[in-house]
């Protein structure tokens, strides 16, 4: 199979292409020299310097706050949307609904950002809210676009799982909400966790939407990084960037590891149940 060997090679080449720049970034964050391209020995001084940078630290806290709110709201909304798309049959406006849920996945951020800002401005004129743009408006923007990601992940899962258990519970007279919380939810939990994680990471990373809908005094971490990066590569930014990479990678890995284990356990239990029945 020559084609397979070629594709194998491409996979390794592609992964190298993906990971090498990040590795280089992390290595250079330990560079003692202020000239970021000249190697001046190992040092952790840029990391220590971060803690003294209160402006940056405030932005970090603000971004983490927004990302947490976003993860919660987007997971809830996205799961509801996924339920609507997979478990509730036809209703008026289903096509519109499907379109609205999937379109944010591809919509250029400059368009969503600008249009949301104009909405907030119009709302402020009309009903007096939001008078100030900041954490809340950024949270709304992030939730809207993360909901799309969550609903894709969760609805893929909802379509995959065996529906016979849900149907059995229904037949035995359980109310729909009870079926959802006792049967469906435990089965799709890994995808909810993945969706929440994704929303958290996407929110932590977003520059464009936040730039449009934020107000004075609500600078997020990507906005801080962006304004520094525009001036060129800086060692402090290397340090904070490495920390973010590490943080997200560790969480992603842990999440993946635990959901995989839970999944295997569940499969085993189900297998046992089925063989017992059979």
């Amino acid at each position: 199979m020559t084609s397979f060997r070629f594709s194998r090679f491409m996979l390794f080449a592609g992964l190298t292409f993906i990971y090498l720049p990040m590795l280089i970034l992390v290595i250079y964050s330990f560079n003692a020299s202020r000239l970021v391209t000249v190697w001046g020995g190992w040092s952790t001084k840029w990391y220590a310097g971060l803690l003294d940078n209160t402006q940056l630290m405030n932005a970090v806290l603000r971004s983490l706050e927004i990302a947490s709110y976003t993860a919660i709201a987007a997971t809830a909304l996205g799961t509801l949307a996924a339920l609507v798309l997979t478990r509730i049959g036809q209703f008026k406006g289903r096509t519109l609904f499907g379109g609205m849920v999937t379109a944010p996945l591809v919509m250029p951020e400059v368009i969503t950002g600008l249009s949301l800002l104009l909405l907030f401005v119009a709302m402020a004129q009309l009903i007096g809210w939001p008078m100030e743009r900041g954490v809340v408006t950024i949270w709304i923007a992030h939730t809207t676009f993360c909901t799309a990601y969550v609903s894709v992940v969760v609805s893929a899962r909802l379509r995959e799982i065996d529906r016979s258990m849900e149907e059995a519970a229904m037949d035995l007279g359980a109310k729909p909400w009870k079926v959802f919380f006792l049967i469906t939810l435990p089965m799709i939990a890994p995808s909810l966790a993945a969706g929440a994680m994704m929303s958290f990471a996407l929110s932590l990373d977003d520059l464009v939407l936040a730039s449009f809908v934020s107000g004075p005094g609500s600078t997020t971490l990507p906005m801080e990084i962006f304004s520094a990066v525009r001036m060129g590569v800086k060692p402090e930014i290397n340090a904070i960037a490495s920390l973010i990479l590490l943080f997200i990678s560790v969480i992603t890995f842990l999440l993946w590891f635990f959901t995989r284990r839970a999944e295997e356990k569940r499969k085993k239990a189900l297998h046992k149940f089925k063989t017992y029945k059979g």
Partner: protein, 303 residues
């Protein structure tokens, strides 16, 4: 029969309406409605006021005047800069989608044909970067591609070039950055498609004497069409409006509409022109977006 159905539906708990209503209302208010407003503002005139645009309607002498200003659109069609930026965006988006497809297809293929145990690991390795900051990954390339960066230093050390090659702040850097950032979005839908293929078709083809390359062209490639469409749309549409990558890696020759819109809005504070730029971009993208949504809906229905 239909009446009975309606009656039965009425018996369902009101929860059903809440389940549909909450996400529906949210997306309607925060995703669809803003587009109506952006269209409205694109017909306004820039003004030194808060907010910085004129109102479309005025009420005076018992008369309602609606003033639609087409000036922004006239400006867009007359100033060559905007046209060049649209064409530049479409060109860069097209070629980077092609590059992503060429690199991503073999990767997705390799993952889909690897050990069942190993697939989630490969997939995680490909997808993990998309969960980590894009801004930072683009920034990493700035350090590598700059004139005194790692790549140029290595090339000079190897003696391939005598003086640094200008890569950062050119379109080449933009292409590298876009392929780098969007590659996972190409691989994921392709993998999801390729992994579902029935391998017995390939076996049958080989039994009948087809070479593996022929079998690939005649069977695997046509079967993966919907995966290719999904992946290409996931890359093409957002790249047309991309801002961060051309801003950080591109140079003066890089004309992209996302960057122009950003400048109109943040530097010139001309909200109406920025809005009309967005409206035209939306019109250009509406067909690809519908195509993507259709494809997505079909995938969701499980074909």
């Amino acid at each position: 029969m239909k009446k009975l159905g309606n009656k039965l539906l009425g018996l369902l708990p009101k929860g059903r309406h809440a389940v549909i209503g909450v996400p529906f209302f949210w997306m309607l208010l925060f995703f669809l409605l803003p587009f109506a407003i952006i269209i409205k503002i694109s017909f306004a005139e820039a003004d030194i006021a808060i907010p910085p645009y004129t109102s479309l309607t005025a009420w005076a002498d018992n008369q309602l005047t609606v003033l639609l200003n087409f000036g922004n659109y006239v400006l867009l069609s007359e100033d060559g800069l905007y046209l060049a930026a649209y064409l530049g965006s479409l060109k860069i988006a097209f070629f980077s989608t092609l590059l992503c497809l060429l690199v991503g297809y073999p990767m997705a293929y390799a993952i889909a044909r690897s050990d069942k145990q190993m697939r989630p690991v490969w997939l995680l390795l490909v997808m993990m970067p998309t969960w980590t900051a894009l801004l930072i990954r683009v920034y990493a390339w700035m350090g590598i591609l700059s004139n005194n960066g790692l790549l140029n230093n290595t090339l000079m050390w190897l003696g391939i070039v005598n003086e640094p090659v200008q890569i950062l702040n050119t379109n080449i850097a933009v292409y590298i950055g876009i392929v780098y950032a969007y590659l996972p979005f190409m691989v994921l839908p392709l993998y999801a498609n390729l992994v579902k293929h029935d391998l017995s078709l390939l076996e049958a083809a080989s039994d009948l004497g087809a070479k593996s390359l022929t079998a690939f062209w005649k069977i695997t490639l046509p079967l993966s069409k919907s995966g290719m469409i999904a992946g290409s749309m996931l890359v093409f549409i957002p790249v047309v409006g991309e801002f961060v990558i051309p801003e950080l890696l591109g140079g003066p020759e890089t004309l992209m509409i996302g960057k122009v819109l950003w400048q109109e809005f943040f530097n010139n504070r001309d909200w109406p022109v920025a809005s009309s730029l967005a409206v035209i971009m939306l019109l250009l993208l509406i067909i690809p977006i519908i195509l993507f949504n259709r494809n997505q809906a079909r995938e969701l229905e499980g074909k």
